[in-house]
C-alpha cells in the first residue's frame, strides 16, 4: 500500500526507484500506468492522466515478470506491440530487425517465445517496450533474470537511451546499476518515500550507495 507519495520525473533523466522487497515499487508503477486507480490524488504523464488511453502512447513498459502470447514468434510479438502502439506497418518492418539486433536476439527472430530462456524473455520484453520508440520508458526490475552479459547489455542500452534524450524510470534493488545509471533516485519503504533527490547527494555522507541505502532503511 502506498501512503501519499509525490514524485516528479523530469524529461530526459534516468530516475531510479529503490526500495526493499514489498516496499510498494511495483504498486507505484502499476498506478503510474493506470492499472490501479489511486484512492486519492492523480498521476500525470506529459500532463495527461495516466488513466487516459492517450497517455500511454508516450510510454514503453517492461513489467517485473513479463508474460507474453508465447505461441508467437519474436518478430510477431514485436509487430503486435508496434501495431498496438499505433505504428504504421511499413515503418514497423524497418524497426524490428535493428531492435532485435540491439537486444542480441536477431538469430532468434523466427523462434517461438515459449522456447526462450528467462533472460531472453526479459530482453524481448524490453524490445517490446522500445519498438514504438516512446519518449518515456518505465521499467520494473529490468535487470531481473539477466546474466552478467545481459545486465551489461541493458546497462549500455539505458545509457544509449539517456543520451538520445529518453526519460527512463526504473525500479531496482541492484544498487550498482543505480550508481552508474541514475541522475536522481527515490527510496521507497513501507509505502512511503524516505528520500527523493540526486544520487550524488544521497551517497555524500556515506561510503557508498549500499551503505547509504541500508542506513536509511534501518533508521526508518
Amino acid at each position: 500500500m502506498l501512503k501519499s507519495i509525490s514524485l516528479e520525473v523530469e524529461q530526459g533523466e534516468v530516475f531510479g526507484f529503490l526500495g526493499p522487497n514489498g516496499a510498494g515499487k511495483s504498486t507505484a508503477i502499476n498506478t503510474t500506468l493506470g492499472f490501479i486507480k489511486p484512492d486519492k490524488g492523480r498521476v500525470l504523464i506529459n500532463g495527461i492522466s495516466s488513466r487516459e488511453t492517450s497517455a500511454r502512447k508516450y510510454i514503453g513498459y517492461l513489467p517485473e515478470h513479463p508474460v507474453f502470447y508465447e505461441h508467437l514468434k519474436a518478430c510477431e510479438l514485436l509487430e503486435f506491440s508496434g501495431l498496438a502502439s499505433g505504428m504504421q506497418k511499413q515503418k514497423l518492418k524497418t524497426r524490428i530487425d535493428p531492435i532485435l539486433e540491439k537486444m542480441d536476439l536477431l538469430p532468434f527472430k523466427n523462434r517461438l517465445v515459449k522456447t526462450f530462456s528467462k533472460g531472453m524473455k526479459q530482453r524481448i520484453g524490453l524490445a517490446m517496450a522500445m519498438v514504438a520508440d516512446p519518449p518515456i520508458l518505465i521499467l520494473d526490475e529490468p535487470m531481473s533474470g539477466l546474466d552478467p552479459m545481459g545486465r551489461k547489455l541493458v546497462t549500455d542500452l539505458i545509457l544509449e537511451l539517456k543520451s538520445a534524450g529518453k526519460t527512463i524510470f526504473f525500479s531496482t534493488h541492484i544498487l550498482n546499476d543505480v550508481e552508474i545509471l541514475c541522475d536522481r533516485i527515490a527510496v521507497l519503504h513501507k509505502g512511503s518515500i524516505l528520500y527523493s533527490g540526486s544520487t550524488h547527494d544521497f551517497i555524500e555522507k556515506n561510503e557508498n550507495l549500499e551503505d547509504a541505502f541500508i542506513n536509511l532503511i534501518k533508521n526508518n
Binding site: S26, T27, N30, L33, G34, F35, I36, K37, T53, S54, R56, K57, I59, Y61, P63, H65, P66, V67, F68, Y69, S81, A84, S85, G86, M128, A132
Partner: protein, 250 residues
C-alpha cells in the same frame, strides 16, 4: 482448428452411417446429429477458448502487455470478442457445410436431398445462423462473468448455469401457462416470461424443430429475434468493458 476439423470428419462419417441405418425420417435424424455436433463445437469454443483465454489474460496479467499500449479496456474486450466470434462463425460454417454434404451423400443413392420430407436448405442455414447468434450471447456472458469473478472456473460455471436456464426456463413457462400441473397467477407468469428474456431466452434461437418438421418460420419474428440477440450481446459486452474499465489490475 484441428478440433473443428476432427469434429467435421466425425459429423460427416456419423451422418453417412446414420442415413444408411434409417429408411424413414433420415433428415430429422441427420439434423439432430448435425446440430448436436454444432452445439458441442460452439460450447467447446466458448468455454475452453473464449472464457479460458480471457481468464488467463486477466488472471495471469497478459492483459498488462496490451493495456500498457494506447489500447482502451473497452477496445480490448471488443477485439477479443470479435476474434472469437469470427472463429466461432468459421467453425459453424464449416460444420454446417459438412452436415449438408454428408446428408447429400447419404441420400444420393435414394434420389438426393429432394426426397427428404419438408427439408429446406434455406431453413437449415437459417437455423445454423440462429444457433451462432445464441452462442454469441453465451460468449458475451462468459466475458461478463470472467470480468466479474476472480476465477476462470467460476465464470465457466456461471455461464453454464445461464446456458441451462436459458434453454429450459421457456419450456417450464410454457408448461405453466398450459396449467396442466400447477395453476399460477397471470402476473407471475408474465414476470417469469420477462425474466426468461432477461436471462436470456436461448431456447428461442433453437429452430431445430421447425427445420426437422418443416414448420413455417415467421420473418418478422426472426428479424425481432436477430435484433434481440445482437442487442443483448452488445449490452452484455458493454457491461463487461465497463467492469474491466474500473477494475484494478495489479
Amino acid at each position: 482448428m484441428y478440433g473443428i476439423g476432427l469434429l467435421s470428419g466425425l459429423l460427416f462419417i456419423s451422418n453417412l452411417f446414420i442415413t444408411q441405418f434409417f429408411s424413414l425420417e433420415i433428415g430429422k435424424v441427420a439434423i439432430d446429429v448435425g446440430f448436436s455436433v454444432l452445439s458441442l463445437a460452439g460450447l467447446s469454443i466458448i468455454f475452453f477458448l473464449g472464457i479460458g483465454l480471457l481468464s488467463k489474460d486477466l488472471h495471469q496479467k497478459n492483459i498488462c502487455m496490451i493495456i500498457s499500449h494506447p489500447v482502451s479496456r473497452f477496445k480490448y474486450v471488443a477485439g477479443k470478442f470479435s476474434g472469437l466470434a469470427l472463429f466461432l462463425m468459421i467453425a459453424m460454417g464449416i460444420l454446417g457445410i459438412f452436415a449438408v454434404l454428408s446428408l447429400w451423400m447419404g441420400t444420393c443413392a435414394s434420389g438426393g436431398m429432394e426426397t427428404l420430407r419438408n427439408f429446406s436448405l434455406n431453413i437449415f442455414f437459417c437455423a445454423v445462423f440462429f444457433n451462432f447468434l445464441s452462442l454469441l450471447i453465451l460468449l458475451a456472458l462468459g466475458f461478463f462473468f470472467t470480468t466479474v469473478t476472480t476465477s476462470g472456473y467460476l465464470s465457466m460455471l456461471l455461464t453454464f448455469f445461464v446456458y441451462i436456464i436459458g434453454h429450459t426456463l421457456d419450456t417450464i413457462i410454457k408448461a405453466l401457462i398450459k396449467g396442466d400441473f400447477v395453476q399460477m397467477d397471470t402476473i407471475i407468469l408474465k414476470g417469469l416470461k420477462l425474466v426468461s428474456w432477461i436471462l436470456p431466452n436461448l431456447s428461442a434461437f433453437d429452430l431445430k424443430t421447425s427445420l426437422a418438421y418443416g414448420l413455417p418460420l415467421d420473418t418478422v419474428y426472426l428479424i425481432w429475434l436477430t435484433c434481440y440477440g445482437i442487442l443483448y450481446t452488445c449490452i452484455v459486452l458493454m457491461a463487461a468493458g465497463m467492469i474491466l474499465h474500473f477494475k484494478d489490475i495489479s
